[in-house]
Symmetry: C2
């Protein structure tokens, strides 16, 4: 997720603080694991039209251990390749070479998640979100030798070092370059490594896991490069991927209780919270993200068995669907985006009609609440409404069996995927309508991996595995083929410089809502895609494997 | 002083370390005094052709204590005026205002010694010395509130703060802006305040003292903004000004022993030393700076009474003139810049013929060595040579009584001032030739305050007080009228953007070799200019007086 456009921000409702929940969440704050990585090679990027980003990394003609004897003066630059995406703190030893260091040294450091970051430069970026997110630092060092330690955390694989100036009398040399990586998941953490039959599928699974790991900090961040905060819709997907891999239940629990600590006076759950300088709800509100809190809690209780938290959160679960319910037509029980208040999201695609999709989301969430009630030994609260909405969903399917939404009967993947996920139709109807919609020439496609996930999840849910894997191989596989180490905030196969923000240099290339293929592969597609075996490996071993494969390719 | 042009750097002679001297110097390293200053007002600079820099400071329409309630967003900027030149470390408290700080804040801070620094901006500076000296920092703050503490020392009066970006959701507010000032001279240090009859003279004396104080750190720096290191020729002038004011003998002693610790194998003294990361001689060598070491030691022993150091340094004094002596014609004993090796400086004026001036410098230094020998009860080593050189000096005076130098009989202030200072001629001859030279239409004038000092010193030495004060009022007085709080590295009354480096933004506006008027006024001109009285004041009181007078003018 990322910031809402200005006109989507509503006036802030007062928060009804639950200090017990806040304390519970605070007590669960993980001590981050730390480990050190060093650059694997020096690279330059040559133009190459056959590559997605239009450039190809060429290793320097000297190995990385020959970096430190080299000295660099005004205008020189080089790019380090750490061989893997990381989140952490960079340091290096800077020494002067020459008669004496008779002036400061001014450096520009640019941290690249993609080759574009370190080849386009960071000047003249036109973007409607903050340019303060741009991943470059200009630093001045008065005296060498110095162990230069950058105070800020960066998210990157490449580090471009530009020597803005030294003086005619000295140059500088770099040694001991390293990144102290951080994550809630340690290098020693074990997980089940599935040996998928298909290499691309294997890589998609791997890149999903790397994405998730790098987003798992003291909360599930949406992206460690930009925004760096907790959104409920993103949390749901991260939590699902986490249950299939790392199984860090405490971090999910912490995040759930952070949201529950700051519900608003109308019982709605904010779309996003800030962890620093202290827990605070964002002013952002999203109708679907609010309702999805019920699904998040249900998923968590089922995965963890922590029914005690389920009981504590039950009032919040009952409250989180209230705002979405106000959008229902009181007679037909069909969701109408023109009714009620709040931002309906589903996807960033402009012009999307949300009624059908939101209908699906709400029905999905009501069913999740009903399911949770069963686990907790409570009476299911939304049986009647779920039945009414299932009946009402019929208006969202056209006579020729495509999913439609709104007065203009808009056909979209968003409507289709959520109505299928909600189980609003018998399996055969859902299958047919879903495939028809996906094949429809006017169907509005997803813009974000967030919605592409729901498309794939819907396909897998009704057993359309082939189509699901086809999309996954195309979309997430496309990023892997383009060189992704982690999955991106947005991916346009046609345009490597596409950006929702006006400039690709403000895009995030490790974004939580893109990490779900590992969940789908492990929970829904394992049999279809085929697995040669499984073994237990550590995260550190997986990282080493990845670095090796990246540098040999 | 500042760095030599590349072609003036000779191959480095091996250093003959004296570790005892080094230890003695290290043991004398002062603990810097620290005190806090806060900005006095917010200002903007409006164009005003009547001002030297073409701009006039206009106070903001709110007092400084109303700064912190204000908030600043993308593209906003303001300029703080601390009311006095300072050297120190800046910190401030940064807070966010708005719904939440959902992005970092990127700031550009520019530290201005002159109005040009904070009005021209620091982009596209074309200069042949290092642009790393430019006094700006770009910093990124991830989370507020934060006490932002800049690690680097800056030299400034004005601080321009530019908000490069926040985000649409928040702005930032600044409070507790302060500078922890540093100097070897404390605020409680007492000195004699002379109440000169003339207000301009009073101000010239004051600005000299401020310049000296801000250059007195763990060594006598040439300029606290740029270069920040110890040059022997500059040290001599600072030491003289110091004996007349602060009387910090230990700091002079430390610097003298630093030089004596690193003489080269031919007994020559390097022009400059580096204090950090450890004591190191620079590769710079200057013939006149080498010889002047004898005068520095003699001045020190006379001023401090520390004959014990005089004895320890005696071999170095004898050695420091050897290189200069190799430039003498063996038959005539006249200095010839074409003979011997090494860079003859005297001034930065291009095209300057150095023979006559260097003849004066060397004779001056030989006499200083002879004088020191008397104090130390030793036999005067250079009586004969001084006599021979006095005789030889006659070639540097023309039949029409101007000082001349070289095969083309160049007339210059440099030749005149040093031959007069050396006492190479009877007082009446010297007076006449000096005034003739200064009045000569073709005479090459000084470019630097360093040489202007020697012109004034020469005038005062032979009793030409009126001309001396006229030049002082014109030259140093011109800087005061232009708004100087400290004296500048260079001053061109006709061109406020003149620079020896190609861009005024790399000039230093607090430069040691400009601090000598207080020495001349107190030691040589007191009676001529007239003093109403004296009283003992602290440096802190002087500073407060200056801030008040600056802000009321």
């Amino acid at each position: 997720m990322s910031d809402a456009p200005e006109d989507m921000v509503e006036s802030i409702l007062p928060t009804r603080w639950n200090r017990n929940f806040e304390k519970l969440a605070n007590d669960l704050c993980p001590t981050l694991h730390r480990w050190t990585r060093t650059p694997q090679r020096v690279v330059k990027f040559d133009k190459d039209g056959s590559q997605y980003f239009g450039v190809r990394a060429t290793p320097a003609d000297y190995p990385i251990d020959q970096l430190s004897p080299k000295s660099w003066g005004k205008g020189d630059d080089f790019i380090l390749d750490f061989g893997i995406h990381m989140v952490g703190y960079v340091s290096f030893r800077l020494e002067s070479r020459g008669s004496h260091m008779d002036a400061p040294c001014r450096l520009r450091l640019t941290f690249g998640e993609s080759p574009l970051d370190v080849t386009l430069g960071m000047d003249n970026v036109k973007t409607w979100i903050s340019t303060s997110w741009l991943p470059d630092e200009i630093i001045n060092i008065d005296m060498c030798p110095e162990l230069v330690t950058l105070r800020r955390r960066y998210s990157f694989r490449f580090l471009r070092v530009e020597v803005i100036d030294t003086s005619p009398k000295f140059k500088v040399a770099f040694s001991e370059v390293q990144c102290e990586c951080v994550s809630a998941i340690s290098q020693g953490h074990s997980l089940e490594a599935l040996q998928f039959k298909d290499k691309l599928i294997q890589n998609i699974d791997h890149v999903s896991i790397s994405t998730l790991r790098d987003c798992m900090q003291t909360v599930f961040e949406d992206g460690p490069r930009r925004d760096r905060r907790l959104w409920s819709g993103d949390l749901r997907l991260q939590a699902l991927a986490n249950y299939s891999t790392f199984k860090d239940f405490n971090l999910v629990k912490r995040c759930i209780f952070q949201f529950a600590a700051v519900v608003r006076e109308d019982d709605s759950v904010p779309a996003c919270i800030f962890e620093q300088p202290q827990l605070t709800p964002s002013s952002d509100y999203i109708v679907d993200y609010d309702a999805l809190f019920a699904a998040i809690v249900n998923d968590y209780v089922v995965a963890s068995g922590d029914t005690s938290s389920g009981h504590a959160l039950w009032p919040t679960v009952l409250g989180c669907v209230k705002r979405a319910i106000t959008h229902l037509d009181p007679e037909t029980h069909a969701f109408d985006e023109a009714k009620g208040e709040g931002w309906n999201f589903l996807d960033w695609q402009p012009g999307l009609e949300h009624s059908a999709g939101e209908h699906g989301v709400l029905l999905y969430c009501l069913k999740a609440a009903n399911a949770l009630s069963q686990v907790l030994g409570k009476e299911a609260p939304f049986v009647d409404l779920a039945a009414q909405m299932t009946q009402a969903a019929k208006v969202f399917i056209s006579p020729d069996n495509v999913f439609i939404s709104g007065p203009k009967a808009q056909v979209s993947y968003a409507s289709a995927s959520w109505l299928v996920l909600a189980g609003a139709f018998p399996k055969d109807v859902a299958q047919r309508a879903l495939l028809n919609t996906l094949a429809h020439p006017d169907a509005l496609k997803p813009l974000t991996p967030y919605l592409w996930h729901h498309v794939c999840d819907a396909l897998a849910t009704v057993g359309l595995y082939e189509k699901c894997v086809e999309i996954m191989s195309d979309y997430w596989g496309g990023m892997v083929r383009a060189g992704a180490d982690t999955f991106w905030e947005c991916y346009n196969p046609e345009d490597p410089q596409a950006s929702p923000y006006g400039d690709v240099r403000n895009n995030s290339f490790c974004h939580a809502w893109s990490c779900t293929p590992t969940y789908l592969l492990r929970e829904k597609l394992k049999e279809f895609v085929g697995v040669n075996g499984t073994r237990s490996v550590t995260v550190g071993e997986l990282d080493e494997y990845w670095i090796k494969s990246r540098l040999s390719s």
